[in-house]
């Protein structure tokens, strides 16, 4: 028996969420007294593969190939399921990243596995195998008990801390046979803002709403975000008005985020907005209206005009950074 994790990479580099997944799965493997195996797909160099050993992996299966350079949902799912068979894994853990969300259900079906999508905590091990996930768009949690032999878990980015546990991991090449029909989709183009912190994985998010009046005022949002190493986000009306790209829109109909710190500026806190951000650990609200509903869902607040408060906040963060440098 073993626990298998999928080590997702972007452009040959493992993502932070991959190390979160390993740290999480390491606890399960220890609890079950089995090995922890990682499978990497795509062209990842050995020096990068070795990083996986830092978090508790016993063995790395590396799958490479021209056809696998870019993500192909069906083919990757087949490879991970083959990897599970080859290492007799009965528990598979992967990130609930955009790609992971497509992969995990396929793997679950292939393995007749019970599946928890978007886990936010470790399983319970007292007899039943129960995992907690969010439900009703941030308004509730559900504890899902997996009763099958095989189990698949996708883990929400940012919901488990990276923990180091260095081991001498063996790196093996793995070359499963994949059907040609697994390659029907063809990637034509990838468009990514290269130097920006990715929103779903960000530890800090600075978010702006309609209270900022127009796209020309986002300079201070970006400056604050850059100082904090944060990603930028926005409310729905802001992306609907094309002040900001749709990929920044958080909430019920946008991206759900769960950073350590969410700073909401000029956002009223409508229930549909809260749906995507209420899982954040700490929430700061800056709004000129003391009655704004967001204050009821916040840990810290400033009642004030964003155009005065944000420049001051930028200065305060600069001071803080130079004092703690």
């Amino acid at each position: 028996m073993s626990v298998l994790i999928y080590a997702e990479n972007t452009g040959g580099k493992f993502k932070k969420s991959t190390f979160e997944v390993i740290s999480y799965a390491n606890v399960i493997a220890k609890e079950q007294k089995t090995n922890l195996v990682a499978i990497s797909i795509g062209n990842v160099e050995n020096a990068e593969l070795e990083k996986l050993a830092k978090y508790g992996v016993d063995k790395v299966l590396s799958v490479t190939g021209e056809q696998l350079k870019l993500f192909v949902n069906q083919a990757y799912a087949s490879i991970i399921a083959e990897g599970a068979k080859a290492s007799s894994a009965d528990t598979i853990v992967l990130s609930a990243s955009f790609s992971g969300k497509g992969l995990a259900p396929r793997i679950a079906v292939k393995m007749d596995a019970g599946f928890v999508d978007g886990a936010i905590g470790l399983p319970s091990f007292n007899g039943s195998f129960t995992v907690r996930k969010g439900a009703f768009s941030g308004k509730a949690f559900a504890d899902v008990s997996l009763t099958s032999t095989n189990k698949v878990i996708s883990l929400v980015p940012n919901s488990y801390k990276v923990v180091e546990d260095t081991k001498p991991a063996a790196i093996e090449t793995f070359a499963p046979v994949i059907k040609e029909s697994d390659f029907r989709t063809m990637v034509k183009e990838i468009v990514r803002a290269a130097d920006k912190v990715s929103l779903p994985e960000a530890e800090i998010v600075v978010s702006g709403g309609r209270g900022l009046k127009g796209p020309e005022n986002w300079g201070m949002i970006e400056e604050l975000a850059e100082l904090l190493g944060a990603a930028t986000a926005c409310s729905k009306p802001v992306s609907d008005a094309h002040w900001r790209p749709h990929s920044e829109h958080v909430g019920q109909t946008g991206i759900a985020v769960s950073p350590n710190l969410y700073i909401a500026i000029g956002i009223s806190g409508a229930i549909q907005h809260l749906a995507g951000v209420s899982a954040s650990k700490t929430i700061v609200v800056i709004n000129k209206d003391p009655e704004a509903p967001f204050f009821k869902a916040a840990d810290y607040g400033i009642v004030g005009d964003a155009f005065e408060v944000i420049p001051r906040l930028i200065e305060a963060v600069k001071e803080f950074k130079s004092a703690h440098a």
């Binding site: 063809m186 990637v187 990838i190 779903p200 350590n260």
Partner: protein, 245 residues
């Protein structure tokens, strides 16, 4: 073109969520149910595609008779016909299994779902359907074009998008941007009453998991306010107390 759109019947976004006394199930009493917002996007795109290239749009729902108003609404928006699999949806594996069993010999060119249902937030059904029907499944798609027998899709990825092509048939899950949801008009509402709604009995599907308890997030307590001219205090609190920076 023959399109199948999977629609889920979910509590309206603004609903206050409550559970049964044993916390094992959602309490539907007094709740307003709607078509899952993402499914509405998928349905609208399906209608646009069949309007420009001819074809039919069938909607399918797994649910008991109480979901029929939601199905009729989908017909009012413009679907050609509807199918209801007469069962209470246990989980996504069950739902995908029922849809696959229905769709497997019907020759759909395109099967659309929403990116996730806003009640159980699974984002599972599209990919499971793809696996069960041995079709490609492209998830969280914000643009879907079809030319001849090839689809061009844009899916969301961290910090951007990926553009891909895929031959039909395929499964795709819809998100914001694929279409602007339509509101039914009077003619639609009238004609929905007489459009075919077929009820089909479910197939057997093994149960692999179960929700054993629901829970509400703890409230954050009273917000701590910092004066607008003392923002240094906020930074100190975020560092010292919240350990967030």
């Amino acid at each position: 073109m023959k399109i199948l759109v999977c629609i889920s019947n979910v509590p309206d976004t603004t609903t206050k969520i409550t559970f049964s006394d044993d916390l094992k199930s959602f309490n539907p009493a007094g709740v307003q149910f709607i078509i899952n917002p993402y499914d509405e996007i998928a349905l609208t795109r399906a209608l646009e595609l069949t309007e420009s290239q001819a074809g039919t749009v069938t909607v399918i729902n797994i649910g008991d008779a109480s979901t029929e108003p939601t199905i009729r609404k989908a017909l009012a928006i413009g679907a050609t016909d509807a199918v209801r699999i007469n069962a209470t949806p246990r989980d996504a594996y069950f739902v995908a299994g029922q849809i696959a069993a229905y769709a497997k010999d019907k020759g759909f060119d395109l099967i659309l779902t929403g990116r996730e249902s806003i009640d159980y937030n699974g984002s599972q059904v599209a990919s499971m359907l793809g696996e069960k029907l041995d079709l490609p499944a492209v998830c969280i798609v914000k643009s879907l074009m079809i030319e001849g027998s090839t689809a061009t899709l844009e899916r969301e990825i961290e910090g951007g998008k990926e553009v891909l092509t895929c031959p039909l048939p395929l499964v795709a899950s819809a998100t914001e941007g694929m279409a602007e949801p339509r509101i039914p008009n009077m003619r639609g509402i009238m004609s929905a009453r007489t459009k075919p709604l077929t009820v089909v009995e479910p197939v057997d599907i093994p149960q692999l998991q179960q929700i054993i308890k629901f829970d509400k997030p703890q409230s954050r307590g009273q917000v701590k306010l910092v004066a607008a001219d003392e923002v240094n205090k906020l930074v100190d609190l975020l560092h010292g107390e919240a350990k967030a920076i």
